[in-house]
Amino acid sequence: MTNMRALTGNEAGAYAIKQIDPDVVPAYPITPQTELMQTFAQYVADGVVQTEMILVESEHSAMSAAVGASAAGARVMSATSANGLALMWEIVYIASSSRLPIVLAVVNRALSGPINIHCDHADSMGCRDAGWIQIYGENPQEVYDNMIQAVRIAENKNVLLPVMTTHDGFIISHTVERVDVLEDDQVKKFVGQYSPRYPLLDTAHPVTYGPLDLQDYYFEHKKQQAEAMKDAKKVILEVGAEYGKLSGRSYGFFDEYQTEDAEYIVIALGSTAGTAKAAVDEMRERGQKVGVIKLRVFRPFPAPELVKAISGAKAVAVLDRSEGFNAVAGPVFSEVRSALYRKSDIPVSAYVYGLGGRDITPEMISGVFADLKSGRLHEEEAFHLGLRE
């Protein structure tokens, strides 16, 4: 039983948090996230959730409060964008290393400077090695679906890692689309009652969070974090399948669109994957064998699964919405090419596009497919797609 709403990506995120009804939400506003927490704050003010909302004075404090509340044993969620995430930085690492299952919606926005409020993935990509699970959403429906699944993934006893769910600033955060929502009690049942394993407030079983950890055990604890990230893969798939049974929308590491017989494949994150699907629809009508892989889970990186999915193609292009500043290419390209090492000879072409909200169209993506087909490959250095000449 579902019902249909017209929601922006931010409203869809707020609606998911409302139905999850977390114990604590610390938040600080930043464009383009602001409307998400503003919408949720209205639910709090209206008394439709039990959540204790903490209005803090900065994002550093928002993440600090999230860490404190989560360690105390609360289910905690928040949201931010760009420079807000950057200001959280120090505490982002403390959340993951303390194994606190916080869920954070990141509304992707370019990092300053120069100041820009529009979409790219520099903010969340900067966090790619911070020990957080990262799930990228394509549209408002996925914003909603991913946030609900994120709670279950984060809190699984074999994971206990924080999860970042992202959606593209303005492009998704401020676009009204159809969103099929579940009933409140379906969501409540799916996420379940949170039972923290080692809550600080359980004084009968005292524990220590954030102790000094030097040459003796720091390394072992990092290895445990790395192991948890590996174990998360199974849990992500289980939760995605179970959510599919509930909602009719199943989720995996990535979405394979028309790739089965595809000779050329484009890999992209977020809303651009949808635009690429529109390009593929149009090219398929003209008999071209092209497909898209929408990478949904970037951390953990599904390397062997992705290699399997693309190995039948003649060439692959990776579209990065952030610059790597490594004189080579963007972060998704680096991961994909590294995954292919000694597994396949398939050429991978690198593109950087859409920085600071520069638009990408189906025609531009058709151009990428044309490049792949004619062998104009960018294997050593990314081509900057849509750049002013």
Partner: protein
């Protein structure tokens, strides 16, 4: 998607272009269609030119790029005709709906970019002033859109105004908006 209709709204900050672009998306969804509604974000100031977009289709809309070649353009403020080409990228034979006191033929004489377009006109400022007490052209423009293109039904618009805005607006404003849409539907003409 071959049957997708793309709509661009031209207004000035404060005229409700964002609201109506998104509200139309909702009306289409409630009719069982798929849709997107989104504004173009720039510096938002009262009175500054802004654009809003709506896409409507019978199937899921996958693309998330801006609208470059709309089928329909709606102009909430006639003074915009003097500063920008509201027909930029408009498909050949496309529809332009303008809030104005003048006729389509008069406008065509002054603005050559309207040549070859289906031009529909209405005095949305007067209609909204009469019905809700102030010039707020966005809802009358919806009535005009229904008359000119039938992308959604008139009763869908008025029914959804009742449903969506009943908590936001007091009854006289709500009823006034509905009358404004219905009057706009009657008074919109083409030439």
């Amino acid at each position: 998607m071959t049957d997708m209709i793309e709509i661009r709204w031209h207004g000035r900050g404060g005229q409700g272009a964002k609201t109506v672009a998104e509200f139309l998306a909702l009306v289409a969804l409630n009719e069982g269609k798929y849709s997107q509604g989104f504004p173009e974000y720039g510096p938002e100031r009262s009175g500054a030119p802004i654009k809003g977009y709506t896409r409507i289709s019978s199937g899921p809309i996958k693309m998330h790029s801006a609208v470059y070649n709309p089928d329909i353009v709606l102009v909430l403020d006639p003074s915009l005709l003097e500063s920008i080409n509201v027909c930029e990228g408009l498909k050949e034979g496309g529809t332009v709906i303008i809030n104005t006191t003048r006729t389509g033929d008069q406008l065509r004489e002054q603005f050559p970019f309207l040549e070859g377009k289906k031009v529909w006109t209405l005095n949305a400022d007067q209609i909204s002033t009469d019905e809700i007490g102030r010039a707020m052209p966005n809802m009358p423009l919806l009535g005009a859109l229904v008359k000119a293109t039938e992308v959604v039904g008139l009763e869908s618009v008025t029914g959804d105004i009742k449903k969506e805005f009943s908590r936001k607006f007091p009854p006289p404003i709500l009823e006034g908006n509905i009358r404004a849409v219905e009057r706009a539907y009657q008074e919109t003409v083409t030439s």
